[in-house]
Amino acid sequence: MSKVTFNEEKCKGCELCVSVCPKKIIALADRINSSGYRPAEVKQMDLCIGCAFCATICPDVVIKVEK
């Protein structure tokens, strides 16, 4: 199993991670961070394969991936 953590306060909700996740498990949350963005989060962490595509494309260095 893999673990993906988001530095939520830095996320800008650009959805690039959403678009590249091969497992389609990332989506924006409903809450708003202090900059006014809806941060991304992994909906089903157990499906994550730790490919780090999300982290590779994230322009704001929001994501940490462990495996």
Binding site: S2, K3, E9, K10, K12, G13, C14, E15, L16, S19, V20, Y37, G50, A52, F53, A55, T56, I57, C58, P59, D60, V61, I63, K64, V65, E66, K67
Partner: protein, 245 residues
């Protein structure tokens, strides 16, 4: 559990000010990772441009100088001539490098200045609100080409990498893209090589990075990636334009 991916020490903890989905952030990370991996952060001196990356001096975790618009290669030259054993790089946009700074980049290349140049081509002046850049595509609408760039009026986009490749002093020129994972990974390798060249005193290296500006293109970050792939790459073919062994 092993860490597969984490923020590089090459970046400070400061949050980027870039727009959501802007690939400037990716480019920053790749440069920072390359420097960290090569162990040169402690002797690196970066030169930030005037452009959206103007605050790069707050992000790269090394000594930095903020240059005036277009003059980063001249500033880098001044640094490198005093400190030839340090690692000096510039990070510049297409307005900065291909327009106002044309003379500076060409002559830095001609002198074979042993520096590394990261050139972010996003076909527009992001910072000032989306004006036409020398790299703006034919037909592309910007605030200063409101009817789309008309080659009769404003000419054709400049291919800086191809032009710089004609210069003897240039050691390594490659154009890469950030529009998907595969290309991002390749861009990383090229950027790293551009720094390695400097370490090995091979001379002037420049990586042109095709990049997005979702805000001024008026599309979502995801669509910006597609637009880049579909419109920019045919106009700005990827690949190594020059490499001296």
């Amino acid at each position: 559990m092993a860490v597969v991916f984490d923020k590089t020490k090459g970046l400070t903890d400061k949050a980027f000010h870039y727009c959501p989905g802007c690939t400037h952030g990716i480019a920053h990370r790749l440069v920072a990772e390359a420097m960290e991996e090569l162990g040169v952060l402690e002797k690196a001196i970066g030169v930030a441009p005037v452009g959206c990356a103007v605050f790069a001096y707050e992000y790269f975790n090394c000594d930095m100088q903020e240059a005036s618009h277009g003059r980063a290669p001249a500033v880098a030259t001044g640094i490198k001539r005093v400190l030839p054993d340090n690692i000096v790089f510039t990070y510049q946009g297409d307005g900065d490098l291909a327009s106002i700074g044309t003379a500076e980049i060409i002559h830095a290349a001609a002198r074979g200045e042993n520096i590394t140049v990261i050139f972010i081509n996003n076909t527009t002046y992001g910072m000032t609100g989306g004006q036409m850049a020398p790299t703006t595509l034919v037909g592309q609408v910007t605030t200063t080409s409101p009817n789309g760039r008309d080659p009769m009026l404003a000419g054709y986009p400049i291919k800086m990498s191809e032009m710089l490749a004609t210069i003897e002093g240039a050691a390594y020129i490659e154009r890469v893209s950030l529009h998907d994972i595969k290309h991002i990974k390749h861009a990383k390798k090229s950027i790293k090589k551009a720094f390695e060249n400097q370490i090995n005193k091979k001379g002037f290296s420049l990586i042109e990075v095709l990049s997005t500006c979702p805000t001024n293109w008026g599309v979502s970050p995801k669509d910006a990636m597609l637009w880049l792939e579909k419109n920019m790459i045919p106009n700005f073919p990827l690949g190594v334009k020059k490499e001296v062994e």
